[in-house]
């Protein structure tokens, strides 16, 4: 009994110290913010903050397992509501939204953070800083960029998902569902924002009528949206980052388009400094499946030249892509990070060397699943 008493005393003594570890709040008192949007405000220095929150109808549709139909402000059966606040800082905009809501705005279940490509570098820095220091934010949320107005983006309701913010999680959590895996977590974006000589890339979210298109990337330079890649260039970026899962090329053979699909790549970079110039060599090993070949021909004889053709084609395209990125001084491949880790005060030198770097791309291809058995 004495021991039990001592244990109880210990618990009572420790309890108040641990009280900060738990904050008990009813779920119904929390407004689950599923998506955050950051866009330019009405005034030049202002930010617009958007929050997408599920409605009771939306929750019911999630429970029922299907789309309830409609979203945003106009629909009578809206699954989410989008609240907007503006201000010079995120905190001010946040306070405006809080005033509109009778529930506690809870960011612990955030699914997506959408950045408008219109945001300036300074605004991105403010947002990055706020997100980093807000402890409540779910850092595993996906980061996306949008060229379209955020009002439009956040009011788009995909037909295949019960609620728009769940669409991103469904899409990004399935690696086999995308040509290029473009998922970026917010913690990774924050890390990039803080790192020197490293540029950011984000997937571009393009709203359609009842869906989203997610096959392009936006390249940032010094936290400012710089280039929007085409789907083809996004695929090339994906090969370099090891994120392309279902690449595709056609290799002509006597006028017949031979299809190579399901292409993925393992890529390795190495840098040399001959005569003080930066030389970057890229080694790519591409794997793919040969699917489209004349049905009355044995494909086995043709595999070697097909592999060589694919390697040549990819290597050439990658070389042009890398040289263009290099000329623009956009380093989304983190090459500068390794250099500056060893030479922390040589940022200017790296920047100059990278812009004038010489590139060599070596590619080898292995084709499998030739379809001979069918």
């Amino acid at each position: 009994m004495r021991r039990l008493g001592a244990l109880m005393l210990l618990l009572i003594a420790v309890g108040p110290g641990l009280s900060g570890c738990g904050s008990n709040q009813l779920l119904t008192h929390r407004a689950l913010v599923l998506a955050l949007g950051f866009g330019p405000g009405p005034h030049k220095r202002d930010l617009a903050l958007y929050m997408q929150i599920p409605t009771p109808q939306g929750l019911a549709s999630v429970m029922a397992g299907g789309a309830a139909g409609g979203s945003g402000g106009g629909s009578s059966k809206k699954t989410t509501v989008v609240l907007k606040g503006t201000g010079a800082t995120v905190a001010k905009a946040f306070a405006q939204i809080q005033a509109e809501s009778n529930q506690d705005l809870y960011l612990g279940q955030l699914q997506a953070v959408i950045f408008s490509t219109q945001l300036s570098q300074a605004q991105m820095e403010v947002i990055g800083s706020t997100l980093t220091r807000l402890g409540q934010v779910d850092k595993t949320a996906y980061a996306l960029a949008a060229t379209a107005p955020l009002d439009k983006v956040l009011h788009t309701e995909p037909a295949v998902s019960p609620m728009a913010p769940l669409y991103y999680a469904t899409e990004f959590s399935c690696s086999a569902c995308q040509t290029v895996r473009l998922d970026r977590r917010i913690w990774s974006v924050e890390k990039r924002m803080a790192a020197p000589a490293v540029d950011l890339w984000l997937p571009l979210l393009k709203p359609e009528k009842a869906a989203f298109q997610l096959d392009q990337a936006v390249l940032y330079h010094h936290l400012k949206a710089h280039t929007i890649l085409t789907p083809e260039k996004t695929e090339l970026l994906g090969y370099l980052l090891g994120r392309t899962e279902k690449g595709f090329v056609d290799v002509p053979w006597h006028g017949f388009p031979v299809s190579i699909r399901g292409m993925a790549s393992r890529t390795h970079f190495s840098t040399q400094w001959p005569n003080g110039h930066l030389h970057i060599t890229v080694h790519m090993h591409i794997m793919g499946e040969a699917n489209g070949f004349p049905i009355n021909r044995k494909i086995g004889w043709h595999v070697p030249w097909m592999q060589a053709a694919v390697s040549r084609q990819i290597a050439n395209r990658e070389l042009r892509f890398l040289e263009s990125m290099s000329r623009e001084n956009i380093d989304v491949l983190n090459l500068g990070e390794a250099y500056l880790w060893q030479h922390p005060h040589q940022g200017a030198r790296w920047s100059h060397a990278y812009r004038h770097a010489q590139w060599t791309v070596h590619a080898t291809t292995t084709l499998s699943n030739l379809g001979e058995g069918t």
Binding site: C21, L27, P56, Q136, A169
Partner: protein, 571 residues
């Protein structure tokens, strides 16, 4: 002896005082008008007073006769009548031994506990018809009686009043012979008892189905059928100052740890209690941690399980009038093992044990986790799940913790009501409770759907322990977990878990660590813990029990591969 005599004298005088009071009362009432039944009371009281005074005077002449029978059957009759008062079940009859001797004798037995046929036909009739040419002396009569009764059953003799009254009250026939200080005790015990029942509380799909009944002697017989070895010992003890309940300590000599046996025997002998009505009355005296929420011994009705555990080096305590044997020492793991685990293949045994473990985890953690994930650590919940929970909680007026209390109370009330009702009604009640109340409470918006699911799984999970007594601590600790989850979320649950594990690790009933074989780690014993390996592999007894011989019987070598040939011969 002198003290006993003083007590008897005091009793006699108090009875005399009571009679005097009755007389005074009657005298007063006589003035108002005497009544017939009061006169009858008076007569009976006077008669009893007379007898009591006679006994007291007789004992006063020879103080030693208070404890020993002196051969005076009239005084013995009076004394016995005084002791049992008007109990109709105690039969006291006088008769004469020998056709020619007409030697006065008296018999005492308890009607219902002794066999009437044995008493009337095999004993009294024989004694009355005895014919002898010898001169009737006390020695000759005693000798003749013993000779005549030797075929009836076990015959012993005693002079002690304590002994003979105990024997008489447990179904033996006690025969007093005039002027013979030795009282004959004949084993005529025969009373109605339940047959060998099938086990109901610890059922098994296959294997033995036999359970103990309430008779101590049958307990031993049943065990003896399982272990036909002289090594199986039963040490008899009597517990209960008034009830004098027989208790047997069963063990296998040569296997059980002698120190453990001595400690258990010592604790049984130290029990000071008026009445013992069930095995648990004994068990609660044996535990070294009486305040512990976790059971320190296992109660089982299965004979095969007791036999198996004895073979491991454990000790069983068999208590008269209770079909449950006490098994000790025990570990936490013991409460999650059943005989069915061994009656079926080892794959089945392992599977059901793992399911029991899962049931424990689900039962203990599911509802606290629900509270933690919906109220405190919302960030840890997967979004689709949280949205589903949020949707189901729309319009619910209570916080999750109140829902838990409501659901738990409903389940416990249903369970308790089912226990008290006849089996057929209990099934109906369970169905009504589960379906009707469950549906209605959700429709009424008192509890949400997800809570119904978790409450049901919790209720089922907490009862997956094959030993009912182990479900109780978890049902208590469940609330500690709820409190921890409510205030500190998952951290609170972790803290409560650590406290539980620390407490379990501190328990050592009869020197055996409660958490063994996991704390301290006994890798060898893991073969028969949450998994059960094939029986031939389980050769060694648990080291935690410190058995005298650790190694069981040697295995046969692995049999050769054998295949029947096409002509019927082997190849």
């Amino acid at each position: 002896m002198a003290k006993t005599f003083r007590i008897k004298k005091h009793e006699t005088f108090s009875r005399a005082s009571h009679t005097m009071k009755t007389l005074n009362r009657v005298r007063k009432q006589m003035v108002q008008g005497i009544q017939t039944h009061q006169l009858s009371d008076l007569t009976r009281s006077l008669s009893r007073l007379d007898k009591n005074v006679s006994v007291a005077m007789h004992e006063a002449q020879d103080p030693g006769s208070a404890d020993w029978f002196d051969g005076d059957i009239e005084m013995a009759s009076t004394r016995l009548s005084h002791m049992v008062d008007q109990s109709p079940d105690v039969i006291i009859r006088t008769f004469e031994v020998g056709k020619h001797w007409h030697w006065p004798a008296m018999l005492v037995y308890v009607d219902g506990l002794a066999s009437n046929e044995m008493i009337d036909q095999d004993t009294v009739q024989r004694l009355m018809d005895a014919a002898s040419k010898e001169k009737p002396t006390p020695e000759a009569v005693l000798k003749a009686c013993k000779m005549l009764l030797v075929t009836v059953g076990h015959v012993t003799s005693t002079q002690s009043w304590d002994s003979l009254t105990t024997k008489a009250l447990t179904g033996n026939l006690v025969i007093f012979l005039q002027d013979v200080p030795n009282v004959l005790i004949i084993d005529t015990v025969k009373f109605p008892a339940r047959g060998i029942p099938s086990t109901t509380l610890e059922p098994s799909v296959k294997g033995p189905q036999e359970a103990f009944n309430e008779v101590g002697l049958t307990h031993m017989d049943q065990l003896r059928r399982w272990i036909r070895s002289p090594s199986l010992h039963f040490d008899p003890h009597t517990v209960g100052v008034i009830s004098k309940s027989p208790v047997a300590i069963a063990y296998i000599k040569g296997v059980v740890n002698e120190e453990l046996l001595a400690r258990v025997t010592d604790r049984v002998e130290r029990i000071q209690r008026d009445l013992v009505t069930c095995a648990n009355d004994v068990g609660e005296y044996l535990s070294g941690h009486r305040q512990s929420i976790f059971p320190q011994y296992r109660l089982t009705e299965r004979v095969d399980w007791v036999a198996r555990q004895l073979g491991q080096g454990k000790i069983a305590i068999l208590v008269e009038n209770d079909p449950f044997a006490i098994l000790l020492p025990v570990t936490l793991m013991d409460f999650y093992q059943t005989s069915q685990d061994y009656a079926l293949s080892w794959w089945d045994g392992t599977l059901v044990r793992l399911i029991r473990l899962s049931g424990l985890i689900v039962g203990l953690y599911l509802m606290p986790l629900y509270i933690a994930l919906t109220s405190v650590n919302t960030v840890l919940t997967p979004t689709p799940l949280l949205l589903t929970i949020d949707a189901s909680r729309q319009g619910i007026p209570f916080p999750p913790v109140v829902e838990v209390v409501i659901m738990y109370l409903i389940i416990e009330i249903l369970r308790e009501a089912s226990n008290r009702l006849p089996k057929q009604l209990a099934v109906t009640l369970g169905t009504v409770g589960a379906v009707v109340v469950g549906t209605a409470i959700v429709k009424a918006g008192i509890v949400d759907d997800v809570m119904i699911v978790s409450a049901t799984l919790t209720a089922l999970g907490l009862f997956t322990s094959p030993a009912f007594e182990m479900s109780t601590p978890w049902r208590w600790l469940f609330w500690a977990m709820i409190v921890g989850a409510y205030f500190l979320g998952v951290l609170g649950m972790v803290l409560v878990t650590v406290a539980i594990v620390a407490y379990l690790a501190s328990l050592e009933p009869f020197g055996v660590p409660y958490l063994t074989p996991f704390g301290p780690v006994r890798l060898g014993a893991w073969a028969d813990a949450w998994v059960r390996l094939p029986t031939p592999v389980l050769r060694r007894r648990p080291i935690a029990l410190r058995p005298k011989v650790r190694q069981g019987a040697q295995n046969n070598p692995t049999p050769d591969q054998f295949r029947l040939g096409p002509q019927g011969g082997s190849r």
